[in-house]
């Protein structure tokens, strides 16, 4: 488990370098916070210590990725951590200043508008391409697409890495973090906002909606941990994570907006910044239907044993 000090210092770094309020005025392109983050050394969190990294495992960075989601960090820090690891493993360390998104086939690539490069699967290799300005993100959330015309600047062997699974697992953790944050915001709002002479949080209907929201956040967070629990990315773990997180995101967004009322959809309030990214995240790197189908197919391929056996063997650590 990641120790609390590491997480806290990372959260401080994010709050200092990239406050959520900046997002409202943010333009696309590499954000100003990137220099500070690069200088902090966190981009090499996954690299073995022998290669100058912190030697963390995927499950150890999961709380950090959640914190990126909770802070709506407008930079592909988690994805760059992974790209730097793979590049180093291939003996081709990445140049400084590269902010990389993972770009498997996807309806939309979150954070592409804030990246300098993308990692694109091509045959048995992943190619690094230099990103060019793409069409504006219809969600106004810094996403984009990777054009086929982007210039290739290098490549690494794909090995047995499932790029879509990796992208989905990292996105799931960011989404789980964002969901935790809007739960907190909704609880605070329900306790502060008064209607009919008492706080919203005193109304049973509102209480039950917030209870459901908290449950969905709990379930999504548990799923996001499954996505980043193994020694390396795994398609079935990602399937469980992204399917569950995407499904939960829809419920959490709806209930958060219901609690906040109309103020939540205005540009002056932060809520819409979170919910647009969650809605976009649901579509990106496979929705719940896509991953549900892959997970279901894997279960049907495994003819022996109960579903409990399947979950234990394929999705959970029984060390």
């Amino acid at each position: 488990m990641t120790d609390a000090i590491l997480i806290e210092s990372f959260q401080r770094l994010l709050a200092d370098a990239a406050p959520v309020s900046d997002l409202r005025t943010a333009k696309t392109g590499l954000p100003a916070c990137w220099t500070k983050i690069e200088a902090s050394g966190y981009l090499d969190a996954l690299l073995p210590e022998a290669l100058g990294g912190a030697g963390l495992s995927l499950d150890e960075i999961e709380p950090l990725v959640c914190a990126m989601g909770a802070g709506l960090l407008p930079a592909p820090v988690a994805e760059t951590m992974v790209a730097r690891l793979w590049s180093a493993q291939a003996g081709l360390p990445m140049a400084p200043g590269m902010a990389v998104v993972l770009a498997p086939a996807s309806a939309i690539i979150p954070l592409a508008g804030h990246a300098t490069h993308a990692l694109v699967p091509r045959g048995a290799r992943f190619e690094f391409v230099r990103l060019e300005p793409s069409a504006a993100d219809p969600f106004h959330a810094g996403a984009g697409v990777v054009a086929h015309t982007c210039p290739v600047i290098g490549s690494i062997p794909a090995g047995n890495i499932d790029l879509l699974a990796a992208a989905a697992a990292l996105l799931s953790a960011r989404m789980a973090g964002a969901m935790s944050k809007i739960l907190t915001m909704s609880i605070e709002y329900a306790n502060a906002r008064e209607q009919f002479g008492r706080p919203l949080g005193k109304f049973q209907a509102v209480q039950h909606n917030l209870a459901i929201m908290a449950e969905e956040v709990l379930s999504a967070r548990s799923a996001s941990r499954i996505g980043l629990a193994g020694p390396s990315f795994d398609a079935l773990r990602s399937a469980a994570a992204k399917a569950r997180v995407s499904e939960a995101a829809q419920t959490v967004c709806s209930l958060a907006h219901a609690v906040h009322g109309a103020i939540g959809v205005t540009s002056e309030h932060d809520l819409h910044l979170y919910t647009t990214r969650l809605m976009q995240g649901r579509i990106a790197f496979g929705s719940e239907r896509y991953w549900g189908q892959r997970l279901g197919a894997a279960r049907l391929d495994e003819r022996s044993g109960t579903s409990a056996d399947f979950i234990r063997a394929r999705l959970q650590n029984s060390r």
Binding site: I187, L210, E215, G296, R303, T306, S307, Q316, S318
Partner: protein, 386 residues
């Protein structure tokens, strides 16, 4: 820390190898015992009552796993019990005869009982010989548990008990009931003045009647106490402390695998019928249910870790139970839709029979052990909403 910090208590927890080591033997035993039973019978699992089965589990050392050895237990931790219970439920074993005693009565007596009570009852529970039930709800007190009216009045011989309990699981088969009753004040005093008693159900003045359900089964009972003389040593814990004692049990009652696996036999039966005629929509249904199940199993293991550490994560257990029973209810709903989506195809009669049973019983999943609405109120308070 903010108010949702309770969500951060769910660190990743893994079942330790010494607990996992129990799995192969229990699996092999269950394959012999229930492996050949038809699924509609296995689907009854923790509502199926079989004293012979429970005694056999006791003989093999799989009951009272968390109890100290000198009371007949195995001296293991919550993970060991998790593994055994998970296998029992996934196989659809008939666990009702030892279920309450093993899960709740034994830990309660270990924590609040006198040494004499522990020595009298714990070894019997570990042997699977004695059946316990829990008397909570009354004809006019269900979700509003604090309004119980059954009353025990002190007298020279101990306590004189009069009142009624209802919806008590298998009271008509049980040997003992641990009941929450009033010992002082009136129903208006709410949580104050309640106490727990261990009641020998063979005593004079006790009338038991099973309640027949629409499924044809009789899992529940009503019990009437008419001036039943209880000995002084029937009191469990401290007089007037019953509410706190009952609440201490709730995290155990609400956080186990039984809150996610009640429809598992049906799910696996349906999956076995999909093997050669799958379509994309069915695969998605299977995958989404498994994703929910996997996330919840991890939460359950994590709560087991906190229970093992001596914590009482009551609110977290309530969240888990609401999520888990919602999933258990979603399984028959989804399968009914899938089965009915192709009117031209025959449905396997055993699948239909198992489905029909769970479509009915699953309505109870969010009632037993605290209704969904009560849980959501508790969770809201835990989140800091007042």
């Amino acid at each position: 820390m903010d108010r949702v910090s309770l969500l951060d208590g769910f660190g990743p927890a893994a079942i330790p190898p010494e607990a996992e080591a129990l799995r192969p033997a229990i699996k092999a035993f269950l394959a012999d015992w229930v492996g050949t039973w038809p699924p509609h019978r296995r689907a009854r699992t923790w509502t199926a009552f079989d004293r012979g089965f429970s005694r056999e589990l006791g003989r093999r050392g799989w009951l009272g796993l968390t109890l100290p050895k000198h009371y007949g237990g195995a001296g293991l931790d919550a993970f060991a019990r998790f593994v055994v219970v998970e296998e029992l439920l996934a196989a659809g074993a008939p666990v009702a005869a030892h279920w309450i005693g093993d899960r709740q009565s034994a830990p309660l007596l270990l924590r609040y009982g006198t040494e004499a009570q522990r020595l009298a009852f714990l070894p019997q529970i570990c042997r699977g010989e004695t059946v316990f039930c829990i008397g909570m709800s009354e004809p006019n007190a269900g979700s509003d548990l604090a309004s119980v009216r059954s009353r025990a009045t002190p007298n020279a011989a101990g306590w004189l008990l009069t009142g009624s309990k209802i919806w008590t699981t298998y009271a008509h088969e049980a040997d003992y009931m641990i009941a929450l009753v009033r010992t002082s004040g009136t129903a208006d005093d709410r949580q104050a003045g309640l106490s727990q008693f261990i009641i020998d159900l063979s005593l004079p003045g006790i009338a038991k009647k099973s309640i027949r359900l629409g499924t044809g089964d009789s899992d529940f009972s009503e019990v009437h106490f008419d001036n039943v003389q209880l000995p002084a040593e029937a009191l469990v814990g401290v007089a007037g402390n019953g509410w706190a004692q009952v609440n201490a049990e709730l995290a155990f009652e609400r956080s186990g695998p039984e809150r996610i696996y009640s429809s598992l036999v049906l799910l696996d039966l349906w999956i076995s019928h999909l093997q050669d005629r799958n379509d994309d929509e069915d695969l998605t249904t299977v995958g989404l249910l498994l994703a929910r199940l996997a996330a919840l199993r991890a939460v359950s293991v994590s709560i087991a870790a906190r229970l093992a550490a001596g914590e009482a994560p009551t609110i977290e257990a309530a969240m888990f139970k609401d999520l888990g029973t919602s999933l258990e209810q979603a399984i028959p709903v989804a399968i009914a839709d899938a089965v009915g989506s192709r009117p031209d195809r025959p449905v396997d009669p055993e699948l239909l029979r198992t489905l029909a049973y769970l479509m009915q019983l699953s309505q109870v999943f969010s009632l037993r052990g605290g209704t969904r609405e009560i849980l959501r109120g508790m969770i809201a308070r835990g989140l800091g909403l007042r």
